[in-house]
């Protein structure tokens, strides 16, 4: 699966300099994400996970090292990426279908094919009947599903997710995990997923990258060798528990298992 990496980070570092102090957030981060792979990044809050994601998205530039996307330097890369944030950040004046189509509007004219694909995505996430409704008429979990559809509509090579289920209650979160696994297997996207929750990372991922220390470094890169599709029942197997424990110890005893 790692034959042709879509993302490669080579010794990426990030240092914020102000007049008073220099603050190194990330240092020497090297990792890769294979095509169609689901990789999670876990670590302490404030440990640089989100910074790493923002570097890969091109929103900020690393002060050291380089990022390669599909074999091209990030600055020159024309590869499509999309992002799902912790909050759905949908536009309240647009209905859900229009929200999903927003990235396509940014790129140019919206064709019937695009509209059909957006509807398909909404159907896949069980939101077909709410296409003409507005985000405020939906629950938080449903809104986040619209945001995921929006992130898929442009057929991105890479989907970046920054704690997308962090604001949801535990039960909704569990069902969203199942759903994301299904969406991922149906669309075949490469996903880089930042989370606080170790069980969530183990449940969803092919690999879990642990960021630790100050400045943040890649402490471990653990392949999760559990059969797919994974179900709720997998969470209570000894193998699953072992992964959780291993990662938890790597992050440090201070952070309790979420």
């Amino acid at each position: 699966m790692t034959t042709s990496p879509v993302i490669e980070l080579d010794a990426v570092g990030m240092t914020y300099r102000s007049r008073k102090e220099t603050n190194t957030v990330l240092d020497g981060c090297t990792l890769s994400v294979g095509r169609g792979e689901f990789v999670s990044i876990v670590g302490h809050s404030g440990g640089g996970k989100t910074t790493l994601l923002r570097i890969i998205s091109g929103l900020i530039h690393p002060t050291e090292g380089s990022v390669w996307v599909n074999g091209q330097h990030l600055d020159q890369s024309l590869s499509d990426m999309s992002m799902v944030f912790q909050k759905p950040v949908l536009l309240p004046w647009r209905n859900n279908l229009q929200n999903v189509l927003l990235p396509m509007e940014f790129r140019g004219r919206v064709t019937d094919t695009m509209r059909a694909y957006a509807m398909e995505l909404l159907e896949m996430t069980g939101l077909k009947d709410t296409a003409r409704r507005h985000p405020y008429e939906l629950s938080g979990g449903m809104q986040q599903r619209v945001a995921i559809c929006r992130a898929l509509v442009s057929h991105p090579d890479i989907m970046l997710m920054d704690e997308p289920f962090g604001a949801l209650d535990a039960m909704t979160r569990d069902s969203m995990n199942l759903e994301l696994q299904r969406i991922w297997s149906e669309t075949g996207r490469s996903i880089l997923f930042v989370t606080h929750s170790i069980p969530e990372a183990v449940f969803l991922s092919d690999r879990v990258v642990v960021i630790g220390g100050k400045p943040g470094r890649v402490v471990a890169d653990i392949a999760v060798d559990l059969p797919r599709p994974r179900t709720k029942a997998h969470r209570y197997t000894p193998e699953f528990y072992e992964y959780e424990q291993q990662i938890s110890e790597l992050i440090g005893a201070k952070e309790s298992i979420a």
Binding site: L59, F85, P92, F106, E137
Partner: protein, 280 residues
Amino acid sequence: MTDLHIPSPAKPHGGPALRDNARARTSRGAHRGPLAISIAGIAGLLALWELIVHTFDIPGYLLAGPWEALAEIAAAPGFYWQHSLMTLEASALGFGAGGVLGVICGAVIFYVPAIRHVLYPSLIAVNTIPKVAIAPLFIVWFGFGLESKSFVALSIAFFPLVISTFDGLASVPSELRELARINRASKWNQMRKIELIHCLPSIFTGMKISISMAVGGAVVGEFIAGNSGLGFVILVANSQVNLTSMFAAFICLAVMSLALFMVVDHLGRILLPWNVATSK
């Protein structure tokens, strides 16, 4: 323009289906209650005013009762209507022009950092000068008449919209800007599809503040430059110690301000239904 919207502290909460019901209720029935209460409240205050005038036997050169003032309007409806229209015209012109300028200014200040650094401090400094103090200057420039009055109204109505537009643009969630950047949106598309629409509720809040201030500005203009309008009526009534006429003009002003405010408020509800729904 059916009611004065008074936000109710009780938030109906629940799933989508529940919320639909709640919405249907508020849009039809539930608002009638508060409207009745509002009218009863105003009537009560007027009655209290009338009562005070009578019980304490306050002489007519100190305070006129509302009944007397309303009778004065009823006796000369054409006179008060004409002068109200004059004030309304100056207020509307000042509010319209000041509002458009204010929104443009706020947007330019937000989008062009160079202009922000140069213009914003001086704008704030200029705004601290009381408009009443600048009003005579407008007479020098534009003479007696509608232009001067409108300019006083404009100068007052302008600033709230600069601030509210700027703040509205500044409060666009950073995630939305990042979303636009990740999708390689053009600056124009980012403005058109996200930022400018996102700041509309804030602009409407500014308009609600501005509209009443514009009426005040027009009246000040009439004090100084007027030979017509409610400000002029007040001035004349003052010189004649005719408090009944003065209070009649106050009532006209209050009704006009309230009506204008409600027009803006209602317009905001019609044009931005999503804002009503999300801020509930």
